[in-house]
Amino acid sequence: MANSILSVRKVTKIFGGLIAVNSLDLELAENGIHSVIGPNGAGKTTLFNCITGFYKPESGEILFQGHHLEYLSPDRVTRLGISRTYQNIRLFTNLSALENILVGQHPRLHTGMLGSIFKTPGMVKEEKEALAEARRLLAFVGLTGKGDHLSKNLPYGDQRRLEIARALASKPKVLLLDEPTAGMNPSETQEMVHFILRLRDELGITVLLIEHEMRVVMKISEVVTVLDFGQKIAEGTPAQIQSDSHVIEAYLGRGAASGLAQNEAKAKA
């Protein structure tokens, strides 16, 4: 197994009386695609929020390349090299597509107040490079020519890809994608699958994916983790997960699981 880049260890997050994430362990292998699945309310997005610093977990630790993330604010986490997208797209709606990506580059740029006012040579150079990089990312996600559109005016699929481009702008090592194919038709989904594979293969990014579309999960994941009521109920390769009775129980109910078990028994007999 490849080196672990991100480790979640015994993380628990409680909202009032509800245990959203319960003593969860997760190891993210470097340069891999790792999916998290589970029914609604299983704690998937809460896990993302814990990793990216939006929530402080009640207990447990999150380690990223030797750094503890559980005490850091979201901007510090991003600076370390983790960025994310959102389940419901959250672009800066009144900024242009290009500006969205430029904002994404914020932590990599250094121009301060005075540099901006006096337009120092360093600032001009940095700005020029940032713009070039933004155009490159725009091309990478296939949005060339749409950079000057307000992001709220882009079609849905473009908004999804723009959000990923914005997340890539900070040059992350780990990218968390929260349901990137939600609301997409089959051909758009297919495109997104290729795109995610390119992220790993061309940019060397480690991807942690929340996804409901099982065909996507099974196709691209190296490891799948299944959550239910905040707990990990199964983990393994797609093939292992597909035949796991706990998983089927969580998704389809107890009857289906026992039915499957009987089938298996019959097959063995």
Binding site: G53, S73, H106, S116
Partner: protein, 565 residues
Amino acid sequence: MKKILSSSWFIPLQIGSIAGITGILMSLVGMVEEFAKRDIIAGIIEMGQTLVFINLLVAGYFAASRSQRAQAYLRVIEGGLAGAIATFFLWILVQLIPPLDLRSIFLNASPALIKVLTFDREGAAALGVMLTAGFLSGLAGGLIQSLPARYRTAVVRGLIWVAMLGLLQDLIRVTLLNFPGVGTALQWMFGSRNEKGLSVAGAIAVFVVVTGGSILQSNQATSLSARVGRLPAKQQQFIRWGGLLLAGAIVFYLPQVLGLYLSEVANQVGLFILMGLGLNIVVGFAGLLDLGYVAFFAIGAYVMGYLTTTAIGPESGQIIYGPQLNFWQALPIAVLISLVAGVILGVPVLNIRGDYLAIVTLGFGEIIRILAGSDFLKPYIGGSQGIVQVAPITIAGVDFNSPQKLYYLIILGILLATFVSWRLRDSRIGRAWKALREDEDVAQAMGIHLVSTKLMAFATGAAFAGMSGAIFASKIGSIYPHSFKLLVSINVLALIIVGGMGSLPGVFVGALILVGLPELLREFSEYRLLIYGVLLIIMMLTKPEGFIPETTHKRELHEEEPGTV
């Protein structure tokens, strides 16, 4: 009969009633009567009736635009009906005033008002004239509505110009009389010297020129800016520099042309522009709703006052100790202290968002004002008696305090603030502010440090207000706590909203409309807030993005043009 009662006639009835009630309200608060003192077209139309007419025109316009009828002429007639219904309300008001002795409750329900409303007729003649006038005005409104869009804007523009020129005629006359050869033209346009408003010929001329020009302009297939954009880069640059030079020359010579009074008005507008530019960074760019912005204006003014006052000593009304600096020594200190105050306010409100932020900053503004008036600080800043004998602005010993000279200082300040705002807007910092405005959580997840980014916005905004306050203190020569009321904050916020949130030219336009116009129409100052409120409501309903909305830059393709690389 049945047809008339069917619901399709409901629209003129509804809109007419609304306009009627609006008309009654305007009459009873005294606007009609007060405005009647100003003529728009000398001897024929005065402002009071115009107010009534505008109300009817608007009623006709909306009745026609809301109407569901297919035929244009029926829609126009519905507009006329709405106007007639509205005047019927006014007629009822006129009938009720004497028997009910309304004047004992509403001071303004005077015989003079009745005279304006009834066109000086009585009995049935009054009703007839009023209904006819109402119907015709409504009809006119409906007609305007039924015009194709570009003629419609042209006509509306023409009417607005006639009204504005008529209202401001004495100012225009005084200003332009200094120019040789203009006198006869003015004579023709505005009539003889002691008349007010435009002459009939002048009004028609203005209307024809403005409307015709507007139609001609819209007839051109391409706009002027598009045609300039097609010229080669060198010519474009030439035009741009030429335009800039021309604007500079106009701005430079303006006080000579404007004279004393108008320069004073320009200065007041200028101080508000300066504040507006600052608040535009806080609210327009960074989206931090600050309702206590006047606090920084006050701090700038008080620092200037304290550092430069010559009224020193233990007597009442004097401050105990002051370093008696001159204006130029005190100005950077005032700006710096305002900036620090911006940071100090910023720290406790870092985690407060939206409505709550507005309330907290509102409180901060009031705290500063009350502190300024408190006995506790009286030995230092004069309490409710304020600070007097604030040092005037001098350059090399020469007094600089006349409005026409002060103008240049304020222009300099505005240029500086505009430059800083403009550079920041298109930089990494400006982008961080805008991201913050759009979605604070996501902005933070983009790696933006919330604390420093917010504090930078507060500090920059406060510094501009401090500069404005410092100049204000020296200009007036004495400052009192009551100059720094909540209303100033609201004024500045309103001018940003009217101009366009986050837009730099919007600040200028907003300040001219909301500060400049009321100064020029002083006799209506009683209704200033009423008009303000109405204007804001209309803006929010029809043009919530402001007169000059914020634009996003086209940067994907434009940067690499052959001319610039």
